[in-house]
Amino acid sequence: MSGFPYAGYAGQYLRVNLSTCTIQKQPLPLEWADNFLGGNGIGIKILWDEVPADVNPLSPENKLIVSTGPLCGSPIPNAGRLEFIAKSPLTGIYGDANAGGHFGPALKFAGYDLIIFEGKSPKPVYLYIHDDKVELRPAGQLWGRGTFDTEAALQTEHRDPNLRVACIGPAGENLVRYASVQVTYRRSAARSGMGTVMGSKNLKAIAVHGTGSLRIADPQRMQALAFKLQQRIHDNPFYASIHTYGTPGLVALMQPIGRFPTQNFRYGSFEGFENISGEALRENHIERDTACFACPLGCDKIYSVTEGEFKGTLTSSVEYETLNALGSRVCVRDLPAVLKSNELCDDLGLDTISAGSSIAFAMEIAEKGLLNQEEMEELDLSWGNYHTVIELLERIAYRQGFLGDLLAEGAARAARWLGRGADAYAMHVKGQDISAQDGRAQQSMGLAHATSSRGADHLKAFPVIDETGAPAEAIRRYGKEYLPDLVNPLATKYKAFLVKDGEDYGAVVDSAGNCKSGGTFVMAEIYWQEQAAAIQTLTGMDMPVERLKAIGERIYNLMRCYNALHGITRADDTLPWRFTQIPSPSGNAKGSVCHLDIMLEDYYHLRGWDVQTGLPTLETLSRLGLGNAYLELQAAIASGESRAAYSSLGWAAPYTGKIKDSL
């Protein structure tokens, strides 16, 4: 095979030009692995080098990178994740989405660390990979079909029930700006519109069967380490809950602390929460426990509805985020309806978070009288009407009618297009909808949303130890010196430290190929030390913790540079008014607002970024070996290129002014 010096990597990647229908197999540059590890680390490196500021995300010049990391495919617990990276059609800046399932490892076993898609196919195609055999095939017969059908059709066509598929549904084809990529088995790389990029390139699917081996530098130590880490996860106090309920178990935990966003973030708790809790889900709808690749936790599960209006619904990996976005965020407390919505989003290829947020936005602007009767198209947009939610999901995916087409743009763009003061009700940062956390109830999450490199997102920093307060975990990670403030959700002290550490470590996790929900954050049995040991044992790279920390920081800084290239500054590291001005009306957080500015000051200091502009300094970037990025960025700012890019991002800035409505 390849002469790549490190084990764990396949050592080669695919560059697929869809315009010219050419496929090149190229050796993986050593520098990519050494400095950026894999996954979204290599992804941002490629975006920085190859996709300049003036590229429209929906144009052929944008590139989609589908990338595994070195741990992906190994028996290290939860090491089956892969990343999709591109300039985001939702935000116009850096975008990525991560998925579990069983697709990533198959790509690795087929012999490829990553695929770069460039250009645009004149007709719908899919990429078929069976080890060395790689070809673009016509996908006209698949165009228009849902993701479940598409996956089944490809498996039938190739007479291969083990074919792993990543595909888009109608939402991606119709360029809904938050279209997901669905991967076998029904897992979603959903955020930032990576499915939209596939749609814009006429790329319907990627189908992989890999039969090769993953070389391990030290097989015996690897096996012992993987087993030890798995046992430690199993013995962790959080194991039972995650194993039994998955992320839906969080509903009942977030409710009392006022961190369960309700009615478009107006409230932090939902009186119908018990109806859509993890406990209700398991008790009434569980069909089977299933798991992603190499995952001992198994938060993935199959659920069904066996009676009532939504009888026949079969859906899997229902997440906390979805129960919130399509449940309490729109005030729906009918669990079968939420399961139906989840099934629909997966089949249509929609991000449940942004879909729910867009619908919540529509319901709120309707309530405020910002839509006229004609525009509402005979839909009852009152809160909690799940028939409307389900109808709108379909209309959005096909861009049907005024509302379908409007909401397909996402709340932040829709608000800009509408005007009328609608921007006050688009709950987003940098164009991406805020996920199911409330910075008023957990200060660190407010900061995390504001500084995330892909627009609002809890998963970049994933600061979980102050959620409900986990002092033992905090001491294990950081020592005693930061207590008690660090674990107090309402305190701002040390939260910048927590967020920076999480962002750097998260960049490493997303680049290595393991999972943020399974043992790296919530139960940090695999933290810096263990992660470095796993990478070293697997690849044979010399990986002291300090080097791994520098890699994480380098990746996060380059993402920031890429966003700054598009004109993003401190002014964009913000939160909508509701979080910073209106005291939380419920739960433990009652009376609290998010003190974002205090935490931001700390954050820029810790990052070594300019406090006024929020831009990385020459000193910081030089230390990380990114001195050239500094020069290129400054040149783009000086030439006006960044300002031009910023003016074409397309979304209304989050509303931060004063508002009459007290909620």
Binding site: S74, P75, P161, Y185, S213, P219, F227, R288, T290
Partner: protein, 164 residues
């Protein structure tokens, strides 16, 4: 010792396959695992398949090569790779599909291919150690083997019916 397998507990995480290939081949490759997780398209049925071993052991008389597959002193069915011609008769004789033929250069009697099956890791099987849901466990009561075999066979038939 036998392996006892409970298909309804399997989550399809494949940790057994990964550790099996790592222990036996020194690399990670689910295809080369001696245990395989079969699944229908939606994973509503999952079934770990490995040699239990069963009571009848039809694979042994099916083999035309003396000594290529035999019962060892611990009661396990073992393949001697150097004697195996990869004729696949043992694989066909096994009703649950616990033996697979692999094209592997340099392996087997003719240096091209070989039959691979579970050898129970010298009494401490990795699959049962790493299975997070105890879908695969080691049991010392050999009388359980027929029950396990029938359980796997039933689930296997169910899976085949579903695929059709």
């Amino acid at each position: 010792m036998i392996l006892d397998i409970f298909p309804e507990k399997c989550t399809g995480c494949l940790l057994c396959e990964l550790h099996c290939s790592l222990a036996h081949e020194g690399c990670v490759n689910p295809e080369l695992s001696r245990i395989h997780i079969l699944a229908d398209r939606n994973r509503r049925t999952l079934i770990p398949i490995a040699c239990i071993p069963c009571e009848d052991k039809p694979c042994i008389p099916a083999c035309p090569e003396p000594g290529a597959i035999q019962l060892n002193a611990q009661g396990k069915v073992e393949i001697t790779e150097g004697l195996c011609t990869a004729c696949a008769k043992c694989a066909h004789a096994c009703q649950i599909g616990a033996i697979r033929i692999h094209r592997l250069p340099g392996r087997g009697k003719n240096g091209k291919a070989v039959a691979l099956k579970c050898d129970q890791c010298k009494g401490d099987p990795w699959c049962s150690k790493v299975c997070p849901t105890a879908a695969i466990i080691r049991v010392d009561d050999l009388t359980e083997s027929q029950t396990t075999f029938e359980r796997l066979l039933t689930t296997h038939h169910l899976l085949v019916r579903m695929e059709k």
